[in-house]
Symmetry: C2
Subunit: 323 residues, 2 copies
């Protein structure tokens, strides 16, 4: 296994809205918030016609790795309901190994209400649902020990039992001499859990860090330069994504700036997830860091050029066409 991703299993409910419609719902653009079932239902009733597409940040990354031709697995919790079946189908259909048993009781499969504005920005209201039921017992130790990289999303820090699963997966991975990757997921996530993320980094529990500029600056306030220097000292590799400005990759004394790949932005949902997919696929193949970043940029460009956070075409073919 190249990459085993662990995350909150969600179905994305995507709708295009104007900035005015979003404001009328009382929602601040570009924000991310967890909501309870009742609020999710209320917002859904007020939402324009939507499209359902399997999502979940780490799951999107697993799909990206599989689409590139890598061996990918996923751990995450759905309910045994229709949306859970959709999530499971879409993941397995891409070739991702997904064996976590669906919950047979409790809340329904989680969903991310995603409001896409004309500029391609997305605003989330997430009902975690069954994803909150993921716990340490669901961590397949053999799978983690067999994966070159175990990739964890910061969002997992939200449900308390998933946090325990997260910690267990880290320990198992390192016990087996494998690498642990972490994405900071979202500035709000860092605001809530940054202290613990920083602690993980200081303790050497994260080998590879993914963050966008805003997430990194939320974790290590100050200048971007200082934040990058800080992160350089606490993990082996860090990739900091900067939207159309590309990414900065640091590893020991190395620093690389990699440009973004050209894209006509329709919906930025999944950009970071697919950057991580390209990067990790390349890394597990032993490529140099510039190549890792280039592959990340290429995969991100594909996913932002259409609605939905998973690739619509074979990334392996895309890479092959790009040379």
């Amino acid at each position: 296994m190249d990459v085993l991703a662990i995350g909150n299993a969600l179905v994305d409910v995507l709708a295009m809205v104007s900035d005015e419609e979003l404001a009328a719902l009382g929602i601040v653009k570009d924000s991310y918030e967890l909501v309870d079932a009742q609020t999710a239902d209320r917002l859904y009733q007020a939402m324009p016609p939507a499209v359902e597409i399997s999502g979940g940040a780490a799951a999107n990354t697993a799909v990206g790795v599989a689409s590139l031709g890598g061996a990918a697995g996923y751990l995450g919790m759905v309910r045994d309901d229709q949306l859970g079946a959709v999530f499971t189908h879409d993941l397995r259909a891409t070739g991702v190994r997904f064996e976590t048993a669906a919950a047979t009781s409790g809340p329904p499969t989680g969903r991310a209400l995603t409001f896409i504005t004309p500029d391609g920005h997305r605003t989330f209201r997430t009902f975690l649902g069954a994803a909150t039921r993921l716990g340490p017992d669901d961590v397949d130790e053999e799978a983690v020990a067999a994966a070159d990289v175990t990739y964890l999303e910061g969002y997992l820090w939200d449900p308390p039992s998933a946090k325990e699963a997260f910690r267990k997966a880290m320990a198992v991975a390192h016990g087996a001499g494998r690498r642990v990757a972490l994405t900071l997921s979202d500035p709000v996530c860092v605001t809530n859990w940054g202290g613990e993320f920083a602690e993980l980094l200081e303790q050497g529990k994260v080998d590879i860090l993914f963050a966008n500029e805003l997430e990194l600056l939320t974790l290590f306030p100050g200048t971007l330069h200082d934040a990058i220097e800080h992160v350089r000292g606490v993990c082996q590799v860090a990739a900091v994504t900067r939207s159309e400005q590309g990414s900065i990759i640091v590893a020991g004394a190395e620093t690389h700036e990699v440009p973004a790949a050209p894209a006509e932005v329709v919906d930025t949902t999944g950009a970071g997830d697919l950057y991580a997919a390209g990067f990790l696929y390349s890394l597990t193949r032993g490529d140099d860091l510039v190549r890792c970043g280039e592959l990340g940029s290429l995969c991100a460009a594909e996913v932002i050029s259409h609605v939905g956070a998973r690739p619509q075409r074979s990334l392996a073919e895309l890479v092959s066409a790009a040379g």
Copy 2:
């Protein structure tokens, strides 16, 4: 109410496949078949990652009418499950009046597995599910009597009790001095039920007929000219759609050829449904038949330019922009 549409309530499960993948599934391209739950499940397991979008031919037409600014209603049956909630949400969110009570037992909400090939053609395998439970008791007589046009899809002829609902709606509409529109839906549908459709036409039970060329020639075999002359004698208005060749509209002694609107074809799902939406919206406003056809062409062009059978932008704005 301008248009009350009655049809099989379905969620579309859309996936892009190559011609080779479709052949490997043993499915003949461009075909339409009803399948049972077991077959639907087997095909779904073999299907690539998909997107869920509310569909149902007549429901798509109702959405189109509402998107144009018309008053539209829908009668159709879902189950009280997650996909039923998705269908209900998406319909109501466009402003379509939809009050049919969801089934609380029996099969789940129906779905149409839709395989889209690179040329934009679509191949359907439909599991009707709860849609088979629509019956005469679900026909809201007041709503039918209040609608300028009651629009029925030929697909309704498949579930036996829906056929009875169909016949009742026709009788109620005509009893109230209203117009009945019928779409032939699909060549396979015409092969199965053409005798009964022809009988309805001969008996004067259909005022407005929608058919594509192949459906019409399945109903009245021979030359297109002869088929059109036949249909001219058995309904007030007939619109025969011919893909990129536009449409032919006949009414009494009138014959009009209306060109297709330019479009880059991504997915032809919903082309006929949205043509009917534009046509009927225009007709209920008292426009001449050429204008009806032009509006139909414009709406069809919007829906084939993206994945999914419902408009992604306001059709009222589209029409206003087109002048």
